[in-house]
């Protein structure tokens, strides 16, 4: 092994072999010179600039970056919910224009249709594509079983916990058999325990079906635990900083967070996201002005 290489770039032979195999798979999503400019009252805002990357079939990609670097903007353009101002998005070689069922999306907030039962929510996609009711129902139940919620098929969303809602949202997106599943901080609103369960569950699903995932998060552990590769963005303007191949071998399990590969990767991410000398960004310029509102000798520390 080359010892001059940083630790996070050193891959075990099995891991290296796996990445070689991934690279041979067909490209599902290709993004070329993608850019997004918002017109705001203070003039144009360059949210994203010249983004390039490729995702192969059955890869699990995580996107991380500081707040406001354009992660949501990126995924919304991929989903077709926002227009891009420059460049190209190619899904299976075809240019993306507007939203479609070939790209599933799971949002951070809860977006289940409150007027439909869990089962009807999952049936929504197939029904919109003109599938018959019985066929759609059969498929919905199958996917609900996969996320472990077949017992709640006839419950309404407001009767579910946050984690359960996101499971249904995943089933609802997957029933359409999308080419790629886009997830924008889907577990961001969940507590730590539920979140860990959902991560393991997502890996299980991903292992068992032909599924490509692009997953946005701001949690470095989540990214390192889930991803094959991590796309690191930087802010102002949003650009690709590095596309890291995660050297942690699969199958993943929570115990791996003590291994060298894991720690090296996380250290590298820390370094990229929180550089030692932070440039003054908008966020940092907000300095709270603290005044003391308690008696002088009433100290808590």
């Amino acid at each position: 092994m080359n010892t001059e290489q940083p630790l996070y770039l050193q891959q075990e032979p099995a891991v290296r072999e796996r990445f070689a195999r991934i690279r041979e798979r067909e490209v599902i999503l290709e993004v070329k010179h993608l850019g997004k400019t918002y017109d705001s009252a203070q003039g144009p805002v360059h949210a994203l600039k010249d983004i390039n990357f490729r995702i192969h079939r059955r890869e699990l990609i995580c996107v991380i970056g500081p707040s406001g670097c354009g992660k949501s903007t990126l995924i919304r353009m991929l989903a077709g919910l926002d227009n891009h101002s420059a460049g190209e998005i190619l899904l299976d070689g075809k240019s993306v224009d507007g939203p479609g069922s070939d790209r599933g999306m799971v949002f951070q907030g809860y977006t289940l249709f409150p007027w439909l039962t869990v089962k009807q929510n999952v049936m929504f996609g197939p029904r919109m594509q003109g599938q018959g009711k019985t066929q759609a129902e059969r498929e919905a139940l199958q996917w609900l079983e996969l996320v472990g919620l077949e017992k709640f098929a006839d419950a309404y969303p407001h009767q579910l916990s946050g984690g359960m809602k996101q499971r249904v949202a995943i089933a609802r997106a997957l029933v359409n058999q999308p080419r790629i599943l886009l997830m924008d901080e889907p577990f961001g609103a969940l507590d730590a325990q539920t979140r860990a369960k959902m991560q393991a569950h997502l890996l299980d699903i991903w292992k068992n079906i032909d599924l490509t995932i692009l997953f946005i998060t701001h949690d470095l552990d989540e990214a390192t635990y889930l991803a094959d590769r991590i796309l690191v963005l930087k802010a102002h303007p949003g650009e690709v900083q590095e596309f890291i191949e995660v050297p942690v071998p699969r199958p993943r399990h929570p115990g791996q967070n003590l291994t060298e590969a894991y720690r090296a990767t996380k250290a590298r991410l820390e370094e990229l996201i929180h550089p030692p000398e932070p440039p003054a960004s908008e966020e940092e310029e907000i300095k709270p002005h603290l005044i003391r509102l308690t008696r002088v000798n009433d100290n808590v520390e």
Partner: protein, 321 residues
């Protein structure tokens, strides 16, 4: 403790407490009315003459002001003549509860003064029909237009400014115009209710449609929903419980236009009944008829609220409405 309970903010209460408070909200005004009617020293500015005594212009059953009565009593005493006798009474326009209650019954059982005039229940039925057609017509136009305005920003911009202007024009002002166009019978009455309701309806429903969480629409789009199916499969079901609540409020609005509408052209329905009775100073009948409108409106609204709970099991707000 008790104070805390009365002023606890948005707390759920037991069904019994809800029922008790609901009944109390009717009993309190009734109690006030009873006090004013039955406790002789509360208000009672008039005197009901039972025996005119020697006062030549007084007759039994006449209502006179208390001051006049007291003057006459003093006069008669000075002249050593028989003073008039009477009991404290309220003016004719404030009948006592039991009188109105009786009128409530007799109004339905008394045949109309002229044989070709309608009975009270016929008048009421006529009013209900006017409301029904007016509200139906208004809704057929207003609900779809409101939903479209709430969904498509450009169309809203094209339609709403004019409607915003038009809704300030008082509906009754169109009475004469409507009679000229639609004749003197039910046409102009229905039209007044439509004019009074429609413009508010479009704006209220457009606002409701706009409040639908946009990410629901986005989620539907990523599931392959086409633009047109978005309205029928997401917007409409998404706002339905709120739309239903809006319609209930707007129906109340339509009722308030009823009286004006029925005065247009040939007076008809419950309004005709009320004006007739007021002309003969049968104020007990007037109150009975006014209350009949309230009871009908409230009863219908309660019915709709019940129905709403059945129709929208997923909606958490209807449970409390």
């Amino acid at each position: 403790m008790a104070k805390q309970r009365w002023f606890s903010i948005r707390r759920d209460m037991t069904p019994r407490a809800r029922l008790a408070l609901g009944i109390a909200s009717f009993l309190l005004p009734l109690l006030l009315w009873c006090i004013v009617s039955y406790v002789p020293f509360v208000w009672h500015p008039k005197v009901l003459i039972s025996d005119p005594g020697a006062v030549d212009y007084m007759e039994p059953g006449m209502l006179v002001d208390k001051d006049v009565f007291n003057d006459e009593v003093r006069n008669m005493r000075q002249e050593k003549l028989a003073p008039p006798k009477g009991s404290p009474a309220n003016p004719v326009y404030l009948p006592a509860p039991h009188e109105v209650a009786k009128a409530f019954y007799t109004a339905f059982t008394t045949p109309p003064a002229q044989s070709d005039d309608p009975w009270l229940h016929q008048s009421l039925w006529h009013s209900i029909k006017i409301i029904f057609w007016g509200f139906l017509l208004s809704s057929v136009i207003g609900v779809p237009l409101g939903i479209i305005c709430g969904t498509y920003g450009r169309l809203a911009r094209l339609v709403e400014p004019f409607i915003e202007f038009f809704r300030y024009l008082p509906a009754p002002a169109f009475g004469a115009l409507m009679v000229a166009i639609l004749g003197i019978y039910d046409g102009p009455k229905v039209a007044i209710i439509v004019i009074g309701t429609l413009f508010q309806q479009v704006l209220v429903i457009a606002n409701t449609a706009r409040k639908l969480d946009f990410t629901l629409l986005e989620a539907a789009m990523t599931l392959g929903t086409t633009r047109f199916k978005l309205i029928t499969h997401v917007v409409v079901p998404g706002i339905l419980p709120d739309l239903y609540r809006d319609q209930r409020i707007l129906l109340g609005w339509a009722w308030t236009y009823l009286i004006v509408a029925e005065l247009v052209g040939t007076s008809s329905g419950i309004t005709w009944f009320i004006t007739q009775q007021a002309r003969y100073q049968h104020f007990d009948n007037v109150y009975a008829a006014i209350m009949m409108i309230g009871i009908l409106g409230l009863g219908f609204d309660l019915l709709l609220a019940r129905l709403g709970k059945r129709l929208f099991p997923w909606d958490q707000a209807t449970g409390k409405a």
